[in-house]
């Protein structure tokens, strides 16, 4: 489930060939057709090809619209992959037998909420990503499938580096799906530790930018 064609194309390219996965894509949201038209040509062409092959559906309605929910439930999906910054409505989560996985740019359970990467840097803690099953709360889903420390890479600024990390969602979802299906799979339980974070002020944002730049210059980040 994606609200932009870019993530959908990346998910298809990253997960389409995963054995045993019958991947279907759903593009949703009021502006979705405009976003498809403005997408990179390669993504636009891929979306068109997948649409014709009935691997991709698109709706201008929200996910919680009854028609969208009915469409989802008719397919009896096992696991959802959610690639949007908007909250995933509870009825959508309930429509999947196993649940809906989401990528969080931060390490759970410690860093919930907004700007988790930036807050981790400010507090001098490791940065990373988490793939977990959503619940109705803000990054509170009990089952954490993948928790991986990732250092922020080189780049012109921290925001660009975080955006690059976000664009690796297919890689992290793939790793999570492989892990889920492995015989020895043991989830990391979200034990309620950690704090919820909010948008960072310009003051602390500046400190984080400086700290990240120093880390990159010193080679502490790869």
């Amino acid at each position: 489930m994606c609200d932009a064609p870019g993530p959908a194309a990346r998910l298809w390219r990253g997960l389409g060939g995963l054995p045993g996965i019958d991947l279907r894509l759903l593009l949703f949201g009021a502006g979705i057709l405009g976003r498809v038209r403005r997408a990179a040509p390669a993504d636009w062409r891929l979306a068109a090809r997948l649409f014709v092959a009935r691997r991709l559906a698109a709706t201008r309605r929200g996910l919680e619209h009854p028609a969208t929910l009915a469409w989802l439930r008719a397919r009896r999906p096992e696991i959802g992959l959610y690639a949007s910054t908007a909250l995933c409505p509870r009825p959508v989560i309930d429509g999947f037998a196993r649940g809906v996985l989401s990528l969080h740019l931060g390490l759970l359970p410690e860093y919930r909420g907004r700007s988790a990467m930036e807050w981790s840097i400010l507090e001098g803690r490791p940065t990373g990503v988490t793939v977990f099953f959503l619940d109705a709360g803000i990054d509170t889903g009990r089952e954490i499938v993948l928790r991986r420390e990732v250092r922020i890479g080189p780049g012109p600024d921290l925001a660009a580096a975080v955006r690059r990390l976000a664009r690796r969602e297919a890689e992290f979802f793939r790793e999570a799906l492989v892990r889920l299906r492995s015989p020895g799979y043991r989830p990391v339980e979200h034990d309620g530790r950690g704090r919820r974070f909010y948008a960072m002020s310009r003051l602390f944002g500046g400190v984080v930018d400086e700290a990240a730049a120093i880390s990159r210059a010193s080679g502490a980040c790869t």
Binding site: I121, L122, R196, Y198, S201, R202, G206, V207, E210
Partner: protein, 140 residues
């Protein structure tokens, strides 16, 4: 104390810079702010976590959307004041609520900045900055 290890000097420098900006706005030299808490601020038994959530999820977006709305400003600044005690502690989220408040107030027209609640918020913020700068300096 907020900040860990290598970032403390950066934090201290940033807070000192912010304190000088604030001094210009208040015409009040760094270190001179009153250390007395705001009456009613950070009342005992108050759930600071829930106050922070309401502040950042409800009131801060509201006051950013409509700074001319006096009721929204009053509600926002009242919640900020309730986080004064928490903002003196080691969890940087609470000081950051005050950072946001300064950044919001500094963007308001002078007439709104000079209103009592806004002015008191800036004065209390100055005291918070002095507190953290002193703590960071002591740890250096």
């Amino acid at each position: 104390m907020i900040g860990r290890g290598p970032h403390r000097p950066l934090l201290r420098t940033a807070l000192e810079r912010r304190r000088r900006e604030l001094a210009d706005l208040l015409n009040d030299p760094p270190g001179a702010a009153s250390r007395d808490p705001i009456p009613g601020g950070g009342a005992a038994g108050e759930d600071a976590e829930e106050t922070l959530r309401r502040l950042m999820v409800v009131q801060w977006p509201a006051v950013r959307r409509a700074p001319q709305d006096g009721a929204a400003r009053d509600a926002y600044l009242a919640l900020v004041a309730r986080l004064e005690e928490a903002a003196r502690g080691s969890d940087p989220r609470f000081l950051d609520a005050w950072n946001h408040a300064y950044e919001a107030i500094a963007s308001w027209p002078a007439a709104l900045r000079e209103e009592g609640a806004a002015r008191r918020t800036l004065e209390r913020y100055a005291a918070l900055l002095d507190h953290h700068v002193a703590a960071l300096a002591g740890a250096a």
